[in-house]
């Protein structure tokens, strides 16, 4: 059974003449325990797919199934929330500004029916590499990387099997990004999580994922494994264009002389 299956997914905003389709006829399937990337430029609809799965957008058609269960509209049951969690792009916007880390985590744990809250909070914080000293801090007392760790801890609280990652490192410095990416790979290895990650950075997707779907203006143009991408053998010209742009920007890294511009 696949962790996530999507068939003929169309997501739109607005109605009547204002209707704009953000995603058209997307299909993908992610086996349990896999790490799947969704890449594309801004406005390609990659985050929209994630939000439709999460139940944050009610206007979609087609089929979304999580662990074999088909989803309807924006209604999600408790079982879904225990199985699927999400980490957002901007850790400055995804934590409640007036709640301490402790309050945030205890509320989530309580919602999921856990009663050994104190012990669990300590464990969650240590799982994401934060000490006890962080427990009673407010978000404004944390750095960007620390905030994202708290957001990951919150997502891990219900012990989910699937994590939806919406550009989890794009708001962070490179060195902090490395720490968070390492944390995410460790967590996946330890807990056998399934990842669906959205990113515009092919390097990040290449690091964390095995398979990736390339999106452009609402459509998935190609699904390829990262190895194929690394060998620069995509089938679709758009993927090639994206690869070239991304590698072109990184040429300086290898110390090779920059080609004449």
């Amino acid at each position: 059974m696949n962790a996530i299956e999507i068939e003929n997914l169309t997501v739109w905003f607005g109605a009547g003449p204002d209707r704009a389709e953000a995603v058209r006829g997307a299909a993908l399937s992610i086996p349990r325990g896999a790490s799947f990337g969704l890449v594309g430029e801004s406005g390609s609809g990659k985050s929209t797919i994630l939000r439709a799965i999460a139940g944050l957008i009610p206007t979609w058609s087609g089929r979304i199934a999580v662990e074999g269960e088909s989803l309807q509209g924006a209604r999600r049951d408790r079982a879904f929330h225990r199985a699927v969690q999400m980490v957002f792009q901007d850790p400055y916007a995804s934590l409640h500004p007036r709640h301490t880390v402790d309050r945030m985590l205890s509320e989530v744990l309580w919602l999921h029916g856990f009663r050994d809250i104190d012990a669990r909070i300590e464990r969650l914080l240590s799982d994401v590499g934060l000490g006890r000293g962080f427990r009673f801090r407010y978000p404004h007392q944390l750095s960007g990387g620390q905030r994202q760790r708290v957001a990951i801890a919150r997502a891990l609280a219900p012990e989910p099997r699937i994590l939806l990652l919406d550009e989890p490192t794009s708001a962070l410095d490179v060195s902090v990004q490395a720490e968070i990416l390492n944390l995410l790979s460790d967590l996946r290895a330890e807990r056998g999580l399934t990842y669906l990650m959205v990113s515009h950075d092919l390097g990040v997707v290449g690091h964390l994922c095995q398979t990736t779907a390339v999106m452009r203006t609402g459509e998935i143009v190609e699904i390829l494994d990262v190895e194929t991408m690394r060998r620069l053998q995509p089938r679709h010209p758009y993927t090639r264009q994206l690869l070239e742009a991304s590698i072109g920007l990184n040429l300086g890294a290898r110390g090779a002389p920059a080609p004449a511009v």
Binding site: G55, H96, H112, F136
Partner: protein
């Protein structure tokens, strides 16, 4: 001794790593207090209000005369006349003593309105903003209807229907004061409800009631508190206005507005009868405005992380 404990308490409040819920909360309040303290004008406002509260509480002891005792022989005496600090009114009552007792009534009105109106506004505004759809339309049109009337006229209508008296005045003022709060609360809710931290808690399975009360309210409250302190002056004035028109506190109750109303007949020859309660209203209104401005800085969302 206190010199030794103060730095300890201060360090505890400013600790980088609070070790308990209580400490974290206390520290947050303390930070706000530090910010407020840096604002001289706000502190002046706060000092006036504390003074007013103390005066109201201690009125029976601070007053030099019985506020209701009439002495027609001593009527309309100027300030400083034989132990009457602010003079006497048309019935020979001591204005200073009446002012002190009147502070109790004014504070009572202000506090009741300040509790009822924003609470009503917060509830209606956040529900409308979060629910959206027809609930939003219904509640907001209701708000518009209330907003369409001039405030004092609407309050007059309510008092006329309910009967004169302080409690009814409070009710009338609250019923006319909530729509702006509902507007503010709704506007804030609209921006808050699309933020990632609300999405995140929705994804944890939290229902609308919990999200509104625990996640939206704490963020709306700060702007409402600011607005309320800025409106306090208006509330006092509306209460005074009702009193002035004879629809608020009833004579011989020493409500400030009623006192001005009585004094107006003698304004030209005996200016102090109306002017002194007027100055009292002015000072308190100013104090609330100053405090409100200071609170705006404290609650500024652009809290520096440093």
């Amino acid at each position: 001794m206190s010199g030794a404990t103060r730095p300890g308490l201060r360090a505890w409040l400013l600790a980088e790593e609070p070790t308990s819920r209580a400490q974290a909360r206390a520290a947050a309040w303390y930070q706000g207090w530090l910010k407020l303290r840096a604002n001289t004008l706000a502190m002046i406002g706060l000092a006036i209000l504390i003074l007013l509260t103390v005066c109201a509480i201690l009125a029976p002891w601070l007053a030099t005369h019985d506020p209701f005792a009439q002495d027609l022989a001593q009527r309309l005496k100027p300030p400083g006349w034989e132990g009457h600090i602010f003079g006497t009114d048309s019935l020979g009552r001591d204005i200073y003593s009446r002012l002190l007792h009147g502070a109790r009534i004014s504070l009572y009105i202000v506090l009741l309105v300040a509790l009822v109106a924003p609470a009503l506004g917060l509830l209606i505004g956040t529900v409308a903003g979060y629910a959206g759809g027809w609930i939003d339309v219904l509640l907001m049109r209701l708000t518009d209807i209330f907003l369409a009337f001039p405030r004092l006229i609407l309050a007059l209508a309510f008092v006329a229907a309910l009967g004169a008296g302080i409690e009814n005045a409070v009710l009338a003022i609250s019923l006319t004061a909530w729509p702006p709060y509902a507007r503010i609360a709704r506007a804030e809710t609209l921006t808050i409800r699309n933020s990632d931290f609300i999405h995140a808690i929705r994804l944890q399975g939290a229902g609308p009631a919990r999200i509104v009360t625990r996640h939206v309210w704490p963020l709306c409250v700060s702007s409402l508190v600011i607005r309320v302190t800025l409106d306090m002056a208006g509330i006092i004035l509306t209460a005074a206005g009702l009193g002035f028109l004879g629809l608020g506190a009833q004579p011989p109750s020493p409500e400030w507005g009623a006192m001005i109303s009585e004094g107006r007949k003698y304004l030209l020859d005996h200016w102090w009868v109306a002017t002194i309660p007027g100055i009292a209203i002015f000072t308190v209104s100013l104090a609330f405005n100053l405090l409100g401005d200071g609170l705006r800085d404290v609650f500024d969302p652009k809290e520096s992380a440093r």
